[in-house]
Each structure stands twice: as structure tokens, then as C-alpha cells.
């Protein structure tokens, strides 16, 4: 796992999300589970209790519930920047699934890879960035508006 061999990115927020209004970056959540399998028990409990409240609390996210014959119950989360995240929910309790869903809601869709610096500024310099002439004395007087001739 070299730093050059593995992908990395800089810290950023999606379009300065929190500065004005906050937009939830989670676009769509699909719960794929089976009606009878024992591994989907937690998912079925969550759908009975928690899904409707979650959908009411997050009006910007579309919740799809699809019972299918499947061995592994899945949670497919799609974000506004196009990233898709799949999580397996085999043998999880309803509480754990709720925590997982809140975690995915609070994420932005950016990749979870190494972040190069834990800070980011758009304006790193306030007094003006150093250039070779900052600390040199001026060779010419500053040029101002030219005075008209007196006569």
C-alpha cells in the first residue's frame, strides 16, 4: 500500500454544501431483501418499524423497498455525484441497520480514500503570497494619475 500506488484526494465538500443551505447528498436508497430468508430478518423488522420514519425525516432521499428472492440482503445507496455504495445486511439487527443508514445519509458521495491534508482553504494568503519582489525596495516611484500642465 504505497501512497502513490493507492488513490488519494484532497479534502473538499461537494459545491460548498454547508455554507448556504445543506443538501443531503444521498439520492436514492434501495433495500433488497427476501420475504422468507433468515438473514433478512433484521431488514424485515427495520421495514416494519423504521423505514417510514426515516423516509419522512429525509424528504430529499428516495427510498425503494424491493422484496426479491435473494440470499444476501443488500442496501444500495446512490449519491448525487454518481457514486454507488452497496452494503450487505446479512444477519444484522434492526438497530444496526438504522445506524448504518444514518451513517450513509451523513456521508457525501466522495470516495473514501486517503485524504492528503486534513484542511483546505480557497484563500490561503491574506497579506499576499510571497514572490521574489515582496521584500525588495522599490526601484520606481508608484505611478499615480498624471497632473495636467499648470499653464
Amino acid at each position: 500500500m504505497t501512497s502513490r500506488g493507492t488513490p488519494s484526494r484532497f479534502l473538499q465538500s461537494v459545491l460548498q454544501n454547508g455554507v448556504g443551505r445543506y443538501v443531503c447528498q444521498l439520492k436514492r436508497i434501495s433495500l433488497v431483501f427476501s420475504k422468507k430468508g433468515p438473514s433478512s430478518l433484521g431488514v424485515r423488522e427495520f421495514i416494519e418499524e423504521g423505514v417510514v420514519d426515516y423516509a419522512k425525516n429525509n424528504p430529499g432521499t428516495v427510498v425503494y423497498v424491493s422484496p426479491q428472492p435473494c440470499r444476501v440482503p443488500k442496501l444500495v445507496a446512490e449519491y448525487l455525484n454518481g457514486n454507488v455504495k452497496e452494503e450487505a445486511l446479512t444477519s444484522k439487527t434492526s438497530q444496526q441497520i438504522a445506524e448504518l443508514i444514518t451513517k450513509l445519509t451523513n456521508q457525501s458521495g466522495l470516495d473514501i480514500i486517503r485524504i492528503r491534508k486534513p484542511f483546505h482553504t480557497d484563500s490561503p494568503s491574506i497579506q499576499g503570497q510571497w514572490h521574489p519582489f515582496t521584500n525588495r525596495p522599490r526601484s520606481i516611484e508608484p505611478i499615480g494619475p498624471q497632473k495636467p500642465p499648470a499653464s
Binding site: M1, T2, S125, I126, Q129, W130, N135
Partner: protein, 149 residues
């Protein structure tokens, strides 16, 4: 009649070779030459790369500190002071800025760095005055360190 001997000869001998080879080659894709394509060369190169990565975690801190020190030295020389003098006098004034912050100030905030250099210069002059002249009270302001209770 059921033929069992043939099925006894077929054994499940582990994950397919392709996936095991790809696990190594994926870490070698950005290398130069045949090491990024051929497995036997890539294995050795990837192992070396990982060893270098572990060793350089300590080297990185050393190199960054060296870089900060050389940047602060260059900036203070622009203002007519040397690096050890600047650092010693800033410490005596109890300015607890570390080298990383000082180098960032020198790059993005040149006027603040100039004021820090002037502070260090003033403290240096007071130190000289206290050492050479026999004054009972230190005349300057910077050599008086105030402790908050």
C-alpha cells in the same frame, strides 16, 4: 451404476491463479518497464516498494522539518537575520510557534513574518544591552516575560 473415480480426481485447489496474480500486479501498475507486467519481476518490485513505504514514514517527518527550517532560514536572511538567531530570540520571547507555522507564515503572510523578525531583532538587542551594560532593570519590554496566574 455411478462412476465415482473421475470426480475423486478433481480437487478444489484454492483460488484461481489469476486473482492471486492480480492482487500483486495491481500494486505494480505504475512501475516502469517489465516490472509492471511480468509477475516474477513484479513480486520483487512490489515487496521493495512496501519496504520503502514503511521505512519512509519516519523519513517523511525528518524531511518535512528540514524543508521548513530551510524555508525559515531563507525568509529570515531576507530580513537580515540568521535562522538560529531568529529561533533563539523567539523562544526567549516565549513565542511558541513551531517551524511548520513559521514557514507557512513566511510564504503566505510575509508582513507577519517581518514583524516576527523585528521582534526577534529587538529581543536580541536587549540581550546584548543586558550583557554589555550594567543596567539594573532591563530597559526593554520584550525581555520581561509575564506569567498569568
Amino acid at each position: 451404476m455411478v462412476f465415482l473415480t473421475l470426480s475423486c480426481w478433481l480437487r478444489n485447489r484454492g483460488p484461481h491463479r489469476y486473482w492471486k496474480v492480480q492482487e500483486v500486479l495491481s500494486h505494480a501498475r505504475h512501475f516502469r518497464g517489465r516490472k509492471n507486467r511480468c509477475y516474477s519481476l513484479a513480486v520483487r518490485a512490489v515487496r521493495r516498494a512496501f519496504v520503502y513505504a514503511t521505512k519512509s514514514r519516519k523519513l517523511k517527518q525528518r524531511n518535512m522539518r528540514k524543508l521548513w527550517i530551510s524555508r525559515i532560514a531563507a525568509a529570515s536572511r531576507e530580513h537580515g537575520m540568521k535562522y538560529p538567531v531568529l529561533i533563539h530570540n523567539l523562544v526567549k520571547c516565549s513565542v511558541q510557534l513551531n517551524r511548520k507555522v513559521l514557514s507557512d507564515l513566511a510564504i503566505t503572510e510575509p508582513k507577519s513574518f517581518l514583524s516576527l523578525a523585528k521582534l526577534a531583532r529587538a529581543r536580541q538587542q536587549e540581550g546584548f544591552g543586558a550583557a554589555l551594560g550594567d543596567r539594573k532593570e532591563p530597559p526593554g519590554v520584550f525581555s520581561r516575560i509575564v506569567t498569568l496566574q
